[in-house]
Amino acid sequence: MYQIVSKRFLNEAQNTIEMVVKAPLVAKKCLAGQFIIFRVDEYGERVPLTIADYDREKETVTIMFQPVGNSTKMLAELNVGDYIMDFAGPLGKPSETKGFKRVAVVGGGVGCAIAYPVAKAIHQTGAEVDIIAGFRNREIVMLEDEMRASCTNLYITTDDGSYGEKGFTTNKLEALIQSGVQYDEVVAIGPAPMMKFVCAVTKPYGIKTIVSLNPIMIDGTGMCGGCRVSVGGKTKFACVDGPEFDGHEVDWDELIKRNGFYKTEEKNHTCRMTGGVRHG
């Protein structure tokens, strides 16, 4: 059992939650880019979430999530002092953070929760880091101070222009590249379509682009194969071979289809909180 030691909303819209969880085994070893798998209770699914931060002394791990599916909604119901039944990790390979001069880290929405620790880790090596953080609107902007403290330049974009610059992360990234900024690498973390478009922007310039994938999985140790993705024409398991891959090699259309596989089941699921079938 893993106790929740703090909980807060990360944005005005209150749709993204940060939880700090006491998990000594995970906190001892985890690095940026790795993930955990949680299970709320005996009846819950095993759900992967990327580690947003950790404190080795306090033996805690920070996760950030949006309550969108059944399991994340159940998790969101828990409060400080409550226990999460299972919290396994760290899983996956850590991010490559060393050996860069200048890197652009692109985060989309709640993906910023993962982009932020990666940016921080790269920035700590002495590299220059530009963070481009994109949100739909002002209400869901999150982690602004934390990101600003972990990079050289922070650029915030909103789709509707209600905060920062109007437009998508891809517009900003392309503008920066065209203005002559030389990036050794671009890291893109967010919804699959955003990562796909970031890769489309960087490809003509030949800038290596790393993406962090979060496909459907059960165990996270290579045992189920549910998380398989095609990378460079070969099948890879995101849990053990990733979660980070060369975005130019990923078969995005296949990944996006596979991630939607259980949409119907999720929709028609009998909710244990409300007792009713929830549609949409």
Binding site: L25, V26, K28, K29, Q34, R39, Y43, G44, E45, R46, N70, S71, M74, M85, D86, F87, A88, G89, P90, L91, I218, D219, G220, T221, G222, M223, C224, G225, G226, R228, V229, S230, T235, V240, E254, K257, R258, F261, Y262, E265, E266, H269, T270, R272
Partner: protein, 461 residues
């Protein structure tokens, strides 16, 4: 008087039509009367060959003699002196290839039902036991066991009995390994696995779940934490795919994923959140026990047509006969001498059919089985909405890639000698992690031998 009936006392089973719709145990087991009657068929041979056929050398004639006397508790003590998981073995061991294949009664009739008797004794004990096992006297030595499947549990239990302070690390949230994620409820009820594990924790074995060795900590760190020896029984968890077109279409599963969703994550029970698709027509590719388990689960999940697609013939099926018969009785269709060429999808990426080619058997290959050869131009398709790939598993690369100096084969199996010693001092290994995918009982044998080797290693240090 010996019972000279040439046939085994039949073991009652659930009716195939009914059981194909539920997850309750298929085989119901002997009553006391049936067990005594069957036990009397044993001739109590002076030189019991059956015992040689058992990887953990259960004292078979001795325990059967006690069953014949109606002294079931003594029979239980005799079995558990060499086998720590009798309720599991009585259910899932391939007895027809082991103990029962050596039985003298099998020459002119059917062998003694050793497996059914073992199961009866274990179940009798489970329902009648009164006392709690007393904790063995501690010898002050710490041993870590990686993986809580049959190899790890047997190794842990054997060492705990000798007084070792044993901690078992399990990556999943529940202990049991393949016994809980792989083998379905209707073949091995999870309650029984949990009770056998409780029996080990009563001996003092500690189990730490959600602990991924190779990620949460390394083998080297276990030594730093004061463990004097480590046993790796991490199994063969990495599913293999065929590398044919269409394997990433929606509706293609590894047998591991499909079975884990159902068995460990209990997708067949409404109160669990685990999503699962209810397919109409399912092709299971492969002919082993895991393929049979997946096919029979698919039927129970409501599939109308479930096909076993296997590239060799009936005689070559690696699954136990009993499993093949159970599958057939439940209406699984066998498409033998058929080899998948590709999986075909619709415009949205969902599986719509599997294309196969007919095969014929040629000369025997390295495994001694006749090699299947394609019949040119015999391609055909079967309409399915799901394909479950069950062509085997390989050891998980996590420990190998995070442990310096641990020698492995090109296939990723840990190199270990017959008692489980690896290339690293103090590190022992056994079960599927060493052999590649094999059986529960062979893993138990390896766990048991390694426990003895660890005991000798620590005492001679």
């Amino acid at each position: 008087m010996a019972n000279m009936n040439p046939k085994k006392t039949p073991v009652p089973e659930q009716d195939p039509k009914i059981r194909a719709t539920n997850f309750e145990e298929v085989t119901l087991g002997y009553t006391e009367e049936m067990a005594i009657e069957e036990a009397k068929r044993c001739l109590n041979c002076k030189n019991p060959l059956c015992r040689n056929g058992c990887p953990v050398s259960v004292r078979i004639p001795e325990f059967i003699a006690k069953v014949a006397e109606g002294d079931f508790e003594t029979a239980y003590e005799i079995i558990t002196s060499t086998n720590l998981l009798p309720a599991v073995c009585g259910r899932v061991c391939p007895q027809e290839k082991q103990c029962e294949s050596k039985c003298i009664r099998g020459i002119k009739g059917e062998s003694v039902g050793i497996g059914a008797l073992e199961r009866f004794v274990a179940d009798y004990h489970r329902t009648h036991k009164k006392e709690n096992a007393s904790l063995p006297v501690s010898n002050g030595h710490k041993v870590a066991v990686v993986g809580s499947g049959p190899a790890g549990l047997t190794c842990a239990g054997s060492l705990a009995k000798e007084g070792y302070d044993v901690t078992v690390y399990e990556a999943f949230h529940k202990a049991g390994g393949v016994l809980v994620y792989g083998i379905p409820e209707f073949r091995l009820p999870k309650k029984i696995v949990h009770e056998e594990i409780d029996h080990l924790t009563a001996l003092g074995v500690k189990i730490v779940t959600n602990a991924i060795v190779g990620r949460s900590f390394s083998i080297d760190e276990l030594f730093e934490d004061g463990f004097e020896a480590v046993f790796i029984g991490s199994g063969a968890g990495l599913p293999q795919f065929m590398n044919i077109p269409g394997e990433n279409l929606l509706g293609v599963y590894s047998a591991n994923e499909y079975l884990t969703r159902i068995n460990l994550m209990k997708a067949y029970l409404d109160e669990y959140d685990t999503p699962i698709k209810h397919f109409k027509n399912i092709a299971v590719v492969g002919g082993g026990n895991v393929a049979m388990d997946a096919a029979r689960c698919a039927k129970r999940m409501g599939a109308e047509n479930v096909y076993i697609v296997y590239r060799r013939g009936m005689d070559e099926l690696p699954a136990r006969r009993e499993e093949v018969h159970h599958a057939m009785d439940e209406g699984i269709e066998f498409r033998l001498l058929n080899n998948p060429k590709q999986i075909l999808g619709d415009e949205n990426g969902y599986v719509r059919a599997i294309e196969c080619v007919e095969m014929e058997l040629g000369e025997p290959d390295a495994s001694g089985r006749r090699r299947p050869v394609e019949k040119k131009g015999s391609e055909f398709t079967i309409d399915v909405d799901s394909v479950i790939i069950s062509i085997g598993t390989m050891p998980n690369p996590l420990i190998k890639s995070t442990t310096d100096g641990l020698e492995t084969t090109p296939k990723g199996c840990i190199v270990a000698d017959e008692v489980g010693k690896t290339s690293r001092d103090g590190v022992f290994a056994g079960g599927d992690a060493v052999t590649g995918a094999a059986t529960v009982i062979l893993a138990m044998e390896a766990g048991k031998k390694a426990a003895a080797a660890i005991d000798a290693y620590i005492k001679n240090k």
